[in-house]
């Protein structure tokens, strides 16, 4: 038995009782245009829209068609409150509206720094919240490539039913639910961090729900801590469910962190495929070791059976440990429905515990998917778990939570890399350096613009890292792929240099070296690179680089990064003046101050966005900008 009511002219709602506890709500569209129909059950008790976690659902109903809007599940104690809305406004309309709001937010920001401004700046706008003009909710934030269809950007109030928080209760690895982005390497690193909640919390500068939808997260990217400000729009499917990673409960931290990390790189899609090691470095800023189980060096360690005691020691030192399987991850985007478990190829896993009992070497491992576990020896259902072993290890078994146990031999057979992030209360220093490529006679040479001295008062172990701009960031690899980096540690005795430790040049995002310093001894650190990849590309017709080209913005960011030495993230007057002098412009302090009044800036100078905005404006004034 069905009942029908007209929601708006020529759009009808058909309600049908399917069972005593379920009702189907269908929308019949008799108009000549498609419509979007929404149902909201906020305020209802013991009522649920099937397959939807939140209280609202929206469907697209083409012209002259009937579509299921929702299946409502009720009980005898339910109290149902529902409202409906119909609009011809389509996704394009929503995109345009967000674009208008983002433009308004850019105007509201004026000469302010988006990374330090107060959220209430946006409370007085017509729409009342922050829409990030520098990472606008829209197709380009998901991918610079082909747009993914059917995405709707939703705020947390539309995603969650009831109250939500940034952190709800304790932070746990099982809070994390990986989405369809193939960023298991990041989620795996995050799950390892979640073992030490304080490490996660220190990334969040905003720890409470922002009424203006403005959140700040920090990362140690390219070797330096950077703040990223985002709005709270998340890409969702038609049922208001986030398509990318999220928490299992009504909390925001996983979605916020993934979105901020996506903004830092340029879009969500750029987070696909990676190494947990890189995730851990970016999330902690701490030294990170990598054991390639297929390398000759690690095979020698394995032959001497030295890896297991190392892993035990790292676990005791509360280091973050992750491991990866060989192959290519083809499953994150569409989880296999036909299988319940097994190891996923090309996937990152967190190692939660390293234990030994009764001669058994066991590792407790977690799949960031939160399910899909190993089903071999020592898995949840394994008969190897004797009473004595259960008593000794105290494992959590029989829960499909993505956590499982595996013995060391199987681990070595099925995994090909181990990452160890040393998280300790370190004393930390960072210094920005530059490689210069010069031509002397007929040859080119590359050298570091500075060398470093290191001296300790007492015997101390130190970790030295050399980091470069990550080629994962949008536009970087097109400009310049990763350079090879090396590091020499030298000491000077009787006027002669002696190399006491070196890191051979390697083409990687960063290199790291560990050394024990003797008290009173002065060490010289010399970064080196062959500079081969600093060479200009092969001569040929120059591609036009217009101000609208995303590559142009990426190049400006690179220029900004290299020109700002005094305070990261801000360009002072001397830096701005010297930079413009290089391209033949002379400016004075008053010109600089006039720029600060118009473009995003703070007391420390012109911000990254301010500099890019100014340069884009100048490029527009000059007309098309061409690559030379």
């Amino acid at each position: 038995m069905a009942s029908t009511q007209e929601l708006v002219t020529n759009v009808f709602l058909v309600i049908e009782r399917l069972t005593p506890t379920s009702y189907a709500f269908q929308v019949l569209n008799s108009r000549q245009k498609p419509v979007w129909a929404s149902m909201n059950i906020a305020g209802s008790m013991e009522t649920q829209i099937e397959g939807v976690e939140g209280s609202t659902v929206t469907v697209h109903v083409p012209s002259m068609e009937t579509h299921l809007l929702a299946k409502l599940i009720v009980t005898s104690r339910s109290r149902v409150q529902h409202s409906f809305s119909v609009t011809e406004k389509n996704l394009k309309w929503l995109e345009l509206e967000l674009e208008r709001w983002a433009k308004g937010c850019r105007e509201a920001l004026q000469n302010r720094d988006v990374d330090t401004c107060s959220g209430d700046l946006f409370g007085t706008t017509e729409w009342g919240h922050f829409v990030d003009p520098y990472f606008m909710p829209g197709p380009a934030a998901v991918t610079h490539g082909e747009a993914r269809k059917g995405l709707i950007w939703k705020r947390p109030s539309e995603i969650f039913a009831g109250e939500f928080k940034v952190f709800l209760g304790d932070i746990e690895p099982n809070d994390i639910q990986q989405g369809t982005l193939m960023d298991c390497w990041l989620m795996c690193a995050l799950a390892s961090l979640a073992e030490r909640p304080q490490l996660v919390k220190r990334l969040f500068k905003t720890t409470e729900v922002s009424p203006y939808g403005l959140y700040r997260v920090q990362f140690c990217k390219n070797g330096e801590w950077q703040t990223v400000t985002i709005d709270d729009y998340f890409p969702c499917d038609g049922r208001n469910a986030p398509i990318f990673s999220r928490s299992n409960g009504n909390e925001l931290w996983v979605m916020l962190l993934e979105k901020a990390y996506a903004k830092l790189h340029g879009d969500y899609n750029l987070l696909k495929l990676g190494l947990s090691r890189e995730g851990m470095i970016d999330l902690t800023g701490c030294p990170t070791l990598w054991y390639n189980l297929e390398s000759e060096e690690v095979r020698r360690i394995l032959q001497a059976d030295l890896l297991w005691p190392l892993l035990m020691q790292f676990d005791q030192d509360a280091a973050l440990i992750a491991a990866s399987t060989p192959g290519e991850d083809k499953r994150s985007e569409s989880r296999p429905q036909d299988k319940k478990g097994g190891l996923v190829p090309g996937h990152g896993y967190s190692i939660i515990q390293v234990r030994e009992a009764y001669g058994h070497r066991l590792l407790n491992i977690r799949n960031p998917w939160g399910d899909f576990e190993w089903e071999g020896a020592w898995s949840d259902q394994s008969p190897l778990w004797t009473g004595d072993m259960v008593k000794a290890i105290n494992p959590v078994l029989n829960e499909n939570d993505g956590m499982f146990w595996m013995n060391y031999e199987d681990f070595l057979r099925h995994f090909n890399g181990v990452t160890v992030c040393l998280v300790k209360p370190f004393y930390e220093a960072r210094y920005k350096g530059v490689f210069e490529r010069i031509c002397e006679g007929e040859y080119f040479y590359t050298y570091s613009h500075c060398y470093f001295t290191l001296k300790a008062e007492e015997r101390t172990r130190v970790y030295i890292g050399l980091h470069q701009e990550d080629e994962r960031i949008f536009g970087v690899s097109a400009k310049r792929p990763n350079l090879d980096l090396g590091l020499l540690v030298l000491e000077q005795k009787a006027g002669h240099l002696r190399c006491i430790k070196r890191k051979e040049c390697t083409t990687d995002r960063q290199i790291e070296l560990e050394i024990e310093l003797k008290p009173g001894q002065t060490y010289l650190l010399l970064p080196c690179s062959s500079g081969c990849r600093l060479q200009a590309p092969n001569p040929g017709p120059a591609e036009p680089l217009t101000a609208k080209n995303p590559q142009f913005r990426s190049t400006l960011l690179d220029v900004f990064h290299k020109a700002t030495q005094q305070k990261p993230g801000f360009m002072s007057f001397p830096e701005f003046r010297d930079l413009l002098a290089v391209i033949g412009f002379e400016i004075d302090q008053s010109y600089y101050e006039s720029c600060l009044e118009v473009y995003p800036s703070s007391a420390d100078g012109l911000t990254r966005e301010g500099f890019v905005g100014l340069m884009l404006f100048k490029a527009g004034e000059k007309g098309e900008v061409r690559n030379r």
């Binding site: 370190f426 210094y431 613009h449 500075c450 001295t453 300790a456 002696r498 970064p527």
Partner: protein
Amino acid sequence: MLSLHSEKEGVRLGAEPVATRELDHSAAIVALQQFGKLVEKIRDVELHLMGGKGSEVYIYGAFNAGTVPAYVTLDCANSEGVLFSTGNAQVRKTVLPESWEVLFTCVSDSSAPRVTLKPLYSVSIRNRV
């Protein structure tokens, strides 16, 4: 960006600007002396290579153990999938007596379908004027 993590306090990190490539050159020679291996010797001039199996970066250097300047040529033009620090696959340098000279650094290009390094080493001795 250089990062330093120390387990104890009292570690001082200083940065000194470098105006020329002199230190880089000296350090490369020190590394060649300590970690390089002799790969060829023509007359009194030794060709040394740093970077073994599994390395992606190779540094070639020459040491003139003789008493007269030597004119060294290293030609890698027949190599494939290799980038050269000098911008050229062929380098010619004068190596003074009892002196070292870095010839060039080459890097295997991971995007190349095949990587082969084929160095051709030759030495001529300059007569004293």
